[in-house]
Every structure is written in C-alpha cells, then in structure tokens.
Subunit: 237 residues, 2 copies
C-alpha cells in the first residue's frame, strides 16, 4: 500500500534518520502489509533514567520527544490509527514524584499533539482525581485537529476493569470508540499487555523492542513493520 | 517454592525426558518463582502435518500425547492451574474435515484427562451445535477427579465475545471460574493471544516456542519457566 505520506521528505524526517544507521537510505521502504491500527507501549522510562544516572521520575520527560518522532513515522507510513499507553490506574500505585512526572509528561504530549494533524481521543476514568484536569476536554470523545490524518488515542488514567465494566453499565466498552489493534509494539523488553485494551488486543501481533522507550529509534518501528510482513492474519480461520 | 510434586520421579517422567537432551539430568531443577496459572496455546498442528507430508487435519491427533506429557510436568512443578486452548468459535470457519478432527482431538484429550488427578473445567458456548455433546457434562462447572492436584481448564468452542458478553447479561464473565493467567506459552511461533481469555490475560507474561505443538519437548516448558524467573511482577506498580 503506497500512499502520499510515504512520499514526504523534508528536514524533520531527515533529522529523524540522521543518527540511525539502520534506516539511513531506507526512507522509501515499501511494505505489502500496513497495519491499520498500532498499539504503543512506551515502557522503560524509569529503567532508562537509572541507567543514565538520573532519578527514576526524570525518565518520563525524555519519553515525550520520541513520541513525536514516532508520530511522524506513523503518518509517513500511512497508519490510520495509533493508541499510546499514557498511564493506568495501576501506575498510580507508584510514589507521588513519579505520578506527577508521568502525568505531566502525558499532558504535555497530548497538548503538543493537539497542534498536529490528528483526531485525538483520550480514554480514561475522568471521575478519579488522578485524571489530569487539562485533558478533560479531550476525554472520551474524538476531537479533530488540523488535517485529521490519523486517529490518535491516548490511554490516560486508564483501567482495563473500568473499561470492561462499561459492558455491565451501558452494554458498551468504555473504549468502544477504539478499533481492533493489529500490531502492538512494546519498548523496554517486557512481554505482556499490562492491561492495554483487552478487547481490542485479542488478535494483535506482538512486537517487543528491548531498548527502553527514551532510546527510541526509527529502526525500531521499521523493524516492527518488517516483522509484521511475515504475520498472517487468520483471525482463527 | 519447593513442593511435593518436584520430588516425584518414576517411570513416566523418565520416559518423558528420555529423548530430550536439553533436560536430561535436570529432573530436579528448582525455581524461585513458579507461576500459579499457565495458559497453553498448542498451535501449529496443521503446519506440522504439512511439514510431515500429512493432510492438515491429520495434525490434530498428534497434539494429544504432548498434552499429557505437559500435564505431568505441570504436576511435577507444582502448577496450580492450567488452561488449554482447545478450539474457538473462530476456528469453526475452517473446512469440515479440520473441524471434525480438532473437535475429536479435544474430546479425546478431555476424556482422558478425566481419568487423572485434576479438577476439570470446560469453558465454551454449549448453545452452539459446534460444542461436542460428549463434553457437555464438564461444561461451565468444575468437575473434580482423583486427587484433584491441579485445576485444568479447557476452552472448547470458546469465543471471547461470548465470554465478555457475560458482563452484559449477568454482570459476570462467562469464564469467571478461571483465575488470572501468570504465564502464557504459545507453540508454533505466532505472537498473539488469538482471543484467549482477554480478561485473565491482561498481565500475563508471554513466552513463544517456535516449534510446532506436536513437536513438544519438556525443554520447551522448562525454558519457559527459566525465562519466567527474569520477569518481575509489578501489576503496573
């Protein structure tokens, strides 16, 4: 599937590839199969911070820029929908400094994305004090920006039980506005969903990047797409 | 965690290890962490059949014996609960000969397990004609056999949507008798859940065996346990 985004060059994209020997010269790579919807678990911020002599809570801030690098790649490769794992109810068990840091990183990321060409959709429990005030205007509805090239979903103060409980309460998932996830990419080496959209992830193919999220490189994304070429889609048939 | 099962030797277990150079001499391997509940996706029967010059539908029959080898290992290592992916509603899209073959393999496996020391629990939609008559007596209730050393669950004509719809209909998952899955082991190289218990698998660590299920070896299981030692359990905290 070739599309207009794959033709876009320009300084930002050149900047992205500059330090990435794996993808240099591969800007126009073509893929037979492009996943419609990619789930992103940007894990490893705290481990990265410790590895780099920082405090754990300092890691989250370094996870914002990689999100925008990935956003540009998603557009370039014609991905229609992406869901970023912001933070969950489970994560709120962490110490206050970390909670403040990941919440602020989420707010900054979503606010910066609101200036881009995406249809933004924040899914999470707004009834809890852990849900950031600044993001309520994007919560549980799709808010369109710019040229609306991609559906961008953010899980913010998300809780898989809260999501499934929607079935009890209204007969619908709380995340019913989010489509089936075709490809999950998780950074930081862990091999699990950690409660990421259980209903939408039932058929997702899983790709694990061992590097921590702040060490994001475009080659991680391209390697995932290359691997995805070899996955058949049978949906059990 | 050491337990009585790890001390059991005897002819069957010797038979298991006989052809398995990886585990020979490792019968008493000790693990710090033992998962309480293991999910088993025994995939690759059809690919194995084709690779061995057989018809696709002939692969399923070769998947029964490995299940019993694994059952013995589960007991030996003190696993409290295991869920085997029998077949799903999605699988019923396959041609009749394959459907008949996997249904019969499931019936044989469950009937043979009913002679063992497990508490059997078959979860699946019995309202559909695809649910085998012979297994209705084990369906959606736990039936205890022998010394009840392990909870053994079988997903038979299982459908994740049917399962979640229980929340709409009765406020409970249809699979509510099944606990959280700690470790998922999937044979056959695919890296996805394929609709396996979405609510119970939210925190599962995933281990993939590239070999096809009929080529099961005890070392697959032991490698999975070894890998599991390095997974932390944070549940998001």
């Amino acid at each position: 599937m070739i599309n207009e985004f794959q033709m876009i060059g320009g300084p930002l994209r050149q900047g992205l590839y500059q330090n990435d020997c794996f993808t240099r010269g591969m800007r126009m790579e073509q893929f037979q199969r492009i996943p419609s919807h990619i789930g992103i678990i940007p894990d490893g911020n705290r481990r990265w911070a410790v590895q780099n002599g920082l405090l754990k809570e300092d890691g989250y801030g370094y996870g914002i820029e990689p999100g925008f690098q990935l956003y540009e790649l998603l557009l370039e490769y014609g991905i229609r929908e992406a869901t970023f794992y912001g933070f969950t109810k489970d994560n709120n068990k962490r110490v206050l400094k970390q909670r403040e840091a990941f919440t602020q990183a989420c707010v900054k990321a979503v606010e910066r994305l609101s200036g881009k060409d995406g249809n933004l959709y924040v899914v999470g429990n707004t009834q809890s004090p852990a849900f950031p005030e600044e993001l309520k205007k994007y919560a549980n509805q799709r808010v369109c920006f710019g040229r609306g090239k991609i559906n961008l979903n953010f899980l913010v103060n998300y809780d898989w039980k809260w999501d499934l409980n929607g079935l009890r309460e209204t007969g619908q998932l709380k995340s019913s506005g989010i489509s089936k996830v075709d490809l999950m990419i998780r950074w930081g080496g862990r091999r699990r969903l950690s409660g990421f959209l259980p209903a939408q992830a039932v058929y997702s193919d899983f790709y694990i990047v061992d590097d921590f999220w702040p060490d994001f490189r475009p080659s991680h994304f391209l390697d995932a797409l290359r691997w995805y070429q070899s996955c058949d889609v049978t949906l059990g048939g």
